[in-house]
């Protein structure tokens, strides 16, 4: 079995299985814990819980202006690599084919050259994020292995993807195999590290939204 067959076959299968098991394990494990009942009367005009949750989920997309002064880099750079990753993952034709084979859904792709440019910007943005993490005293203090592993495993698919798209470094099938393997590792790590925020943000923001909007407080 060559590397590409291994990557497209057993590696991907195992990684996806770990991903699904891990994500459900973590989400169900947390969401099925008992919750405190809040019997306090809501503020007059408070939205229902579902709306409160939605308000927080969307409202939290933009930080309050006062926090932007100090958090400008974190916010803008965060947006750059998140949007970059989203474009690379969801708008590149081969990726759409991959997703289509899993979910049966398909949508139009962006030109490869554009994806390549976005990928390069994303890689740069990720590097900037790492440099910031390594130099900011606050981030140095609060960062854990999880943060560096998650960074590395996000960065790898981006650079291996760029290498595969530009045929730099090795033969294409090897680059493609490495790219797929890097995604396998990413998927396998996903449920256990902070990459889970891709799912958790809904519940984390939502819970605070429900608590705060019940009180008529801003979120």
């Amino acid at each position: 079995m060559d590397l590409l067959t291994f990557a497209r076959g057993p590696a991907l299968e195992i990684a996806m299985a770990i991903f699904v098991i891990g994500v459900l394990w973590r989400m169900v494990g947390v969401l099925s814990l008992p919750a405190w009942r809040d019997d306090s009367p809501p503020r007059k005009g408070a939205p229902p819980a579902w709306l409160a949750a939605l308000q927080a989920i969307f409202g939290k997309m933009a930080p309050h202006r006062t926090f932007l002064k100090a958090g400008m880099f974190t916010t803008i750079n965060g947006y750059v690599f998140h949007i970059g990753l989203a474009i690379c993952v969801f708008a590149f034709a081969p990726h759409i084919l991959f997703l289509k084979s899993l979910f049966g859904l398909s949508w139009p792709a962006l030109p490869s050259g554009m994806i390549f440019a976005v990928g390069a910007v994303t890689a740069g943005s990720l590097i900037a994020a790492l440099i910031y993490r390594l130099t900011s005293p606050v981030l140095k203090l609060i960062s854990r292995g999880n943060d560096y592993i998650s960074w590395g495993l996000t960065f790898l698919p981006v650079v291996t993807g760029l290498a595969a798209a530009s045929h730099i470094g090795a033969r294409y099938e090897t680059l493609l195999a490495i790219h797929i393997l890097s995604i396998c590792v990413f998927l396998a790590w996903f449920p256990f590290g902070k990459l889970m925020h891709a799912f958790l943000f809904v519940f984390s923001r939502g819970a605070t939204g429900i608590r705060f909007r019940h009180r008529g407080a801003q979120i």
């Binding site: 079995m1 060559d2 590409l4 067959t5 497209r8 076959g9 057993p10 991907l12 299968e13 996806m16 299985a17 770990i18 991903f19 699904v20 098991i21 891990g22 994500v23 459900l24 394990w25 973590r26 989400m27 169900v28 494990g29 947390v30 969401l31 099925s32 814990l33 008992p34 034709a93 081969p94 990726h95 084919l97 991959f98 289509k100 084979s101 899993l102 792709a109 962006l110 030109p111 490869s112 050259g113 045929h167 033969r171 294409y172 099938e173 493609l176 797929i180």
Partner: protein, 357 residues
């Protein structure tokens, strides 16, 4: 035909001048992307070479490789190749049969000890003592080992010989293996493809004949001159790939426009071969030009890549049932974890004691 004369002397008797070598060498140099100036040296080498004894062994194969080489597209020029070699044994092409044929093989081996080239097409069955393919009362493996003993080099022609090919496809009932598994340290050139491009065969044989050595090979033992670039690298539809223009089916607007066939399963990006430049049938066309994606036939195990129409980036296996199982398992673990956490919250350190857990 005598093998002592140089090829130049032999051809001269037929009134063919050395210009023929030069023209032929220009052609081979161009084929193999050698510098044009090397044509002279190549011609000189060929002219001074002796006629090369070739023993062609056909094992688990379909004769497509032989069909391909005998239909090489440049008959007037490439026919010269058949003047340069002495095809001393070839089931399909030789006039004699039975014991006489086997005798011819033995004679060629005797007469050209250490100098003859063995060309193999087809894979070798190894299961059950190799009973699945026997010739002249011996298994293919025995015949190969016997013939290889005094050979100068081996050329595995076609994907069956080079990588096991279709006989080796799952579930490989005959235990077929590629030639490289059985050649030991004999110099081996793989010219893969199903069938291989005829020019690749003639080009490589001419090179060996002229220079007395193997051309530069890739990690799979294939001559880089023909297998150095992917189909995708040289595909005339490549600009459509870059622009994100794809045929979604074989009869849609994209297909009519001649867009890239990546989405309908083209394996061009991971297939190393010269189809996109040399093409087939006298340079007429090649699969992608006729509207079908590359099958990847010159790559190992091309038959077991999940289907010819399955796009390259998709997973090989069917993930559905596995993922459903994983989801159930994950949810069960989650519930278990939450129950255990509730229990643990109640019992953790509950009876006051100093040690934890």
């Amino acid at each position: 035909m005598s093998n002592d004369q140089t090829l130049a002397a032999m051809l001269r008797q037929r009134g063919v001048s050395r210009r023929a070598f030069l023209k032929y060498s220009s052609y081979v140099a161009s084929l193999m992307a050698l510098p044009p100036s090397s044509a002279g040296a190549l011609a000189e080498g060929l002219a001074n070479a002796r006629r090369q004894s070739v023993i062609w062994l056909s094992f688990q194969e379909c004769t497509g490789c032989t069909e391909s080489i005998t239909r090489s597209h440049s008959p007037t020029l490439e026919n010269l190749m058949f003047d340069f070699i002495s095809l001393d044994y070839h089931h399909t092409l030789m006039a004699v049969s039975g014991e006489a044929a086997e005798k011819a093989r033995q004679q060629a081996m005797e007469a050209n000890k250490g100098k003859y080239i063995v060309v193999v097409d087809g894979s070798i069955p190894t299961k059950d003592g190799g009973v699945y393919s026997c010739i002249a009362g011996i298994s293919n493996q025995q015949m190969l080992e016997e013939t290889l003993r005094d050979a100068f080099a081996v050329v595995a022609v076609g994907s069956c010989a080079a990588f096991g090919g279709i006989p080796k496809a799952n579930p490989n009932p005959t235990g077929a293996v590629a030639i490289k598994e059985l050649v030991g340290d004999k110099p081996l050139i793989n010219i893969s493809g199903c069938p291989p491009i005829p020019e690749a065969m003639t080009g490589v044989l001419s090179y060996v004949l002229s220079f007395g050595k193997l051309p530069e090979l890739d990690h799979l033992g294939r001559p880089k001159a023909f297998f150095g670039e992917t189909i995708h690298d040289r595909c005339y539809r490549r600009p459509y790939y870059e622009r994100g223009l794809f045929a979604e089916g074989f009869d849609d607007e994209g297909a009519r426009q001649g867009y890239c066939l990546y989405k309908v399963g083209c394996k061009g990006p991971v297939t190393y071969n010269a189809c996109a430049t040399l093409k087939w049938n006298g340079g007429t066309s090649f699969p992608i030009q006729s509207g079908h994606g590359c099958l990847g036939c010159s790559e190992p195990d091309f038959w077991d890549q999940g289907g010819f129409y399955r796009p390259l980036p998709t997973p090989l296996g069917a993930m559905g049932p596995m993922l459903a199982g994983a989801a159930v398992a994950g949810a069960a673990l989650g519930f278990g974890a939450s129950l255990s956490a509730r229990q643990h919250q109640k019992t953790f350190l509950a009876p006051p004691k100093s040690g934890e857990e």
